[in-house]
Amino acid sequence: MTEFKPTILAFCCNWCSYAGADLAGVSRLQMPTNVHVVRVMCSASVKPEYVMKAISQGIDGVLVLGCHIGDCHYMTGNHRTAKRIPVVQKILKDVGIDEKRVRLDWVSAAEGEKFQKVITEFVDEVAKLGPNPLREVAF
């Protein structure tokens, strides 16, 4: 059996987590090849609809990464993120999708190692969940 490689989408805010991802790269920290980073200005601009859309179309996992609470470049932006993403997780759970397919975490510009850890752990976790059941439905 070939090992299941999930497809993962990661939204990273420009100021912290995208910079953290860059630092991971500069530090040559190795990680799985399944994660595709989309740069947004703030984690608070990630519409719940994007996450739902990705999951409903068969993407196996979605990461939303922002600055630590208190560090958002836009002061309180990520307070919104912290409220919105759990709602998305709850909706997913209600319709029978494991909410662990969506994860919110904070990675600062200085945390290249944390970025690597979050990516590696999330890929592992989603791999354990197996393919997104909506994959079949989507196509």
Partner: protein, 561 residues
């Protein structure tokens, strides 16, 4: 149909040794809207930029995608090439296949190549939907903040103030000068550290434009290049200042040994800085043994602190002058360059003894009837040697400032794994952070000599003066706007905006959300708050981001076996 050009960068071997750049270019050529897909050895070189510019003109491109390093450092460069070729700079899209691909998947070339293809496809799908924008400008607050009042901070402050810029220098200690306060003379030319420091302090104190804040720390920071607001804690009092640019010059600390080589237990064992202090007090050094690389160039702290070999050479010569004997026990003498090598030669000639040790057999320091004794296995002679000494000086490295994590967090700037601050790009932007308007100099970046510290400080001051002298900074056109046809005037966006930039106003007999563009900072919080898809952010529209998701679905799921 847009006319998209895709340029994939080899970045020498940085990308091309992992990702098959040719294969990605071939794939990109098949994507909808792409009329040309090319690859360059170094896209950001003069040659690479010229070839992109020519290609834009020849192929009449109206959208440009570069797949290379990170937009955080290189986006302005490629955007300006687009502009030179007559394409609005907002019709450019960056795809990161180095930091986010080749560098982190070094051992998986084929998976990395597939991933790079998907990332390029996502970028192309967004690029097709990009729209041209015009940029606004904002005024720059004509003042600067320098954090740290050591040599670097003082030099930077003096330079900014001399250019007529109001400069606030904050120093956490009650005195200026940092490391220099404890140093006697400065190698290689034996200037007095006190004299140098005094001259600089006088220059800063004598300037009307320089404002010194002692016992002060940065507690909070908001804003952007040109318009920062800093909250200071000045001797327990809160103070707010507004500045246009910031220089980090927080310096470094000497590593305190943790009992190695008898430190703290055997009398006469000191660090380099402690030794400098004894010389400064006029104490006679007597017979002195220097042990190099204590706590550096070994697992856990691999770096070379660069200044310790030269410091020991300098002080060994002083010991000889004072009539003592001097022995330097080292793993390699790093007296790089011209003047330092000269000093090494001089030390050998004058009779400083050099003994090489290895990590497998380190020197042993113990108390002795007449003082201190060092036993060391001489690598070169192949025999064990016994040395009597009045003093043993441990050359420990400079380590990052204790609170550098806190400073990094406040300024949102990165540090390397040893806690030293990281510039935006070693060669292209050596004294700048990736965050616009924030600069770095001195030993906060890396252990450096006085001369290097001074040049960096002057460089940082020159860079920081640019936005201030221009008086204007361009505001990126990433602001929000509401589509009046879709807006239901629900007010969700108004409540979500951290900058109170949105109002519900009457327009053509209908109530709609209106974004005040000079107040909008482009966070996109309102976009996610809008239930009607009316609110959009320039450069990050819901159509553009949805297209990226669709593209990932298509290339990762539908087309995978």
């Amino acid at each position: 149909m847009p006319r998209i050009g895709v340029f994939i960068c080899h970045c020498g071997h940085n990308i091309a040794s992992t990702v098959s750049v040719e294969e990605v270019a071939k794939f990109a050529a098949t994507l909808p809207g792409v009329v040309i897909a090319d690859h360059n050895l170094y896209s950001c070189s003069e040659e690479g930029l010229n070839s992109i510019r020519k290609s834009i003109e020849q192929n009449k491109l109206d959208r440009v995608v570069v797949a290379a390093c990170t937009p955080r450092t290189h986006e302005p460069l490629f955007r300006s090439v687009c502009e030179q070729a007559g394409v609005n700079k907002y019709l450019f899209e960056f795809v990161n296949i180095r930091e986010h691909c080749s560098w982190i998947h070094a051992k998986e070339p084929s998976s990395a190549t597939e991933k790079a293809k998907r990332l390029v496809a996502m970028g192309v799908s967004k690029a097709a939907l990009l729209e041209p924008q015009t940029e606004g400008e904002s005024n720059v607050i004509p003042a600067a903040l320098v954090i740290g009042g050591g040599l670097a901070g003082l030099r930077a402050t003096a330079s900014l103030a001399a250019q007529g810029i109001e400069t606030h220098l904050i120093e956490k200690e009650p005195r200026l000068g940092g490391l220099l306060n404890d140093i006697t003379t400065l190698a290689p030319y034996s200037e007095s550290a006190d004299t140098l420091l005094q001259e600089l302090v006088d220059e800063v104190r004598g300037s009307k434009r320089a404002h010194i804040h002692l016992n002060s720390k940065l507690r909070g920071l908001t804003g952007f290049v040109g318009n920062f607001k800093a909250t200071l804690d000045e001797a327990g009092k809160k103070k707010e200042i507004e500045i246009g640019a910031i220089i980090v010059a927080t310096g470094a600390n000497e590593l305190q040994p943790e009992g190695e080589y008898g430190y703290g237990s055997v009398p006469g064992v000191v660090t380099q800085l402690e030794f400098e202090r004894t010389l400064k007090r006029g104490e006679k050094p007597g017979d002195t043994v220097f042990i190099q690389c204590v706590g550096s160039r070994q697992p856990g702290r691999e770096y070379c602190s660069r200044i310790c070999c030269n410091t020991s050479l300098k002080n060994a010569l002083k010991v000889l002058e004072a009539g003592g004997t001097a022995t330097i026990i080292h793993r390699d003498i790093m007296s790089y360059g011209t003047v330092w090598e000269e000093m090494y030669r001089k030390a050998s000639e004058k009779g400083v003894r050099f003994i090489r040790y290895t990590l497998n057999d380190i020197p042993h320091v113990r108390s002795h009837a007449s003082g201190t004794a060092v036993d060391v296995f001489d690598e070169t002679l192949g025999e064990r040697i016994h040395l009597d000494a009045n003093r043993v000086v441990l050359a420990t490295p400079l380590i990052s400032q204790k609170d550098s994590a806190e400073v990094g967090k406040l300024l949102k700037v990165p540090r390397d794994k040893h806690g030293f601050f990281l510039e935006a790009h070693v060669k292209l932007r050596p004294v700048e952070f990736a965050t616009d308007g924030v600069f770095i100099c001195g030993t906060a970046r890396w252990p450096s000599s006085v001369r290097e510290t001074l040049s960096q400080a002057l460089g940082a001051a020159a860079k920081a003066a640019i936005p201030i002298k221009r008086g204007k900074v361009v505001i990126e056109s990433i602001t929000a706007w509401a589509d009046p046809d879709k807006c239901a005037a629900c007010g969700n966006c108004v409540a979500s905006c951290p900058y109170e930039a949105i109002e519900i106003l009457e327009q053509d007999g209908k109530r709609v959300a209106k974004v005040n563009e000079t107040q909008c900072k482009g966070c996109g919080t309102c976009v996610a708050a809008c239930p009607n898809d009316a609110m959009q952010q320039r450069g990050f529209t819901t159509r553009q981001l949805s297209a990226m998701i669709d593209s990932l679905v298509k290339h990762a799921l539908e087309e995978s076996p």
